[in-house]
Symmetry: C2
Subunit: 203 residues, 2 copies
């Protein structure tokens, strides 16, 4: 059986759980306390991911695949969640790159600071900048989703799954999501998918 | 003819120039002064890239593809620079994600601060942290390249092209590259490729 090395509070891990659920693919979850350093042990760095991050998908033969978006790519091949048209494939990769570079470092990190660190953490000073840059990313999504039901093409792809993960929990990082009605409608569409699964918890 | 919206000092743009050169694909280059805001004009944001970044590859029919790694993906389809095996494809995506998330924000930004901003910029305070995180990424590459001639599989792929761009100019961000002999040997292998092209300048 597939093993997912992960953490329930990670949107990056949730991307993979969501796709596995949509695909009705069974897997075993192994949870790591990332804040406590459980992914920085010698064993983890040597055998699971040299970069010390979750999620990692491990196959029955022991091979490990890190990077949430690479896992989405692998699992979606020859399924309806990855387009067959090369241009649409490239647009999926484009939006996944956008997520990793222009969205996740702000939207996810605001949530992390406000929900995972102590209330008196000095990192709260980062929040205004994270909100400014995160809102820029969310506005780009909003403008796009005003004109499109899904991020690429006319159906759900891994580009949606990738962006949905941290976007639908952005309020936990104190983003004002009432500014983004098209994002809200898109989230509702995704949540109606057969075999959709929620993240573990909410605040 | 293809149009590359870019800047000569951008490693992300150079990735695309290098692959276009290897493929012997002609293109027109349009240069933007990013620091002066040339990619934040209304025209650029509306017609080229809503995210205000370079590089963007524009096709003859006007379609635009942003995100350097998405451009690499698109251009490499059905060429020897993208593997046919699904596992190797996923490993290429994994390393491109690694580059965007764990390498470029440190290795590229150190170069940017030290070569593109005024000598008295307050951003020089970021350099020690950028070096610490960038060296972690470079060490992961070094350990991998000690055992492999290329990043994925046995030949040059877009994973190499992606990682090579900022790595081979990391010294411009004051990274001590003498620590990484396997990276140096790998760079030399890439530089011997037929139709290899250099970045525009060096310091």
């Amino acid at each position: 059986m597939l093993i997912l090395h992960e953490n329930m509070e990670s949107g990056n891990a949730y991307k993979v759980r969501l796709l596995l659920s949509l695909l009705e693919t069974p897997f075993e979850s192994i949870q790591y306390d990332v804040v406590a350093g459980a992914t920085r042990t010698k064993n983890y760095l040597t055998n699971i991911n040299k970069n010390g991050r979750i999620p990692v998908l491990q196959f029955e033969d022991g091979r490990c695949l890190p990077e949430s978006n690479a896992i989405l790519y692998y699992l979606s091949q020859n399924t309806k969640y990855f387009p067959t048209d090369t241009w649409e494939q490239a647009k999926v990769i484009e939006w996944m790159c956008f997520e990793q570079y222009s969205h996740e470092p702000f939207v996810a990190v605001a949530k992390f600071i406000l929900t995972m660190l102590p209330e008196n953490t000095s990192r709260r000073v980062e929040i205004p900048t994270l909100h400014e840059k995160g809102n820029t990313a969310l506005q780009i999504m909003e403008d796009h989703l005003c004109q499109h039901d899904y991020v690429v093409g006319k159906t759900l792809t891994i580009a949606d799954i990738c962006l949905y993960a941290y976007t639908h929990k952005a309020h936990m990082g104190s983003f004002d999501m009432s500014r983004f009605p098209a994002i809200k409608a898109w989230c509702s569409r995704i949540e109606k998918e057969e075999n959709y699964t929620e993240m573990y918890y909410d605040l």
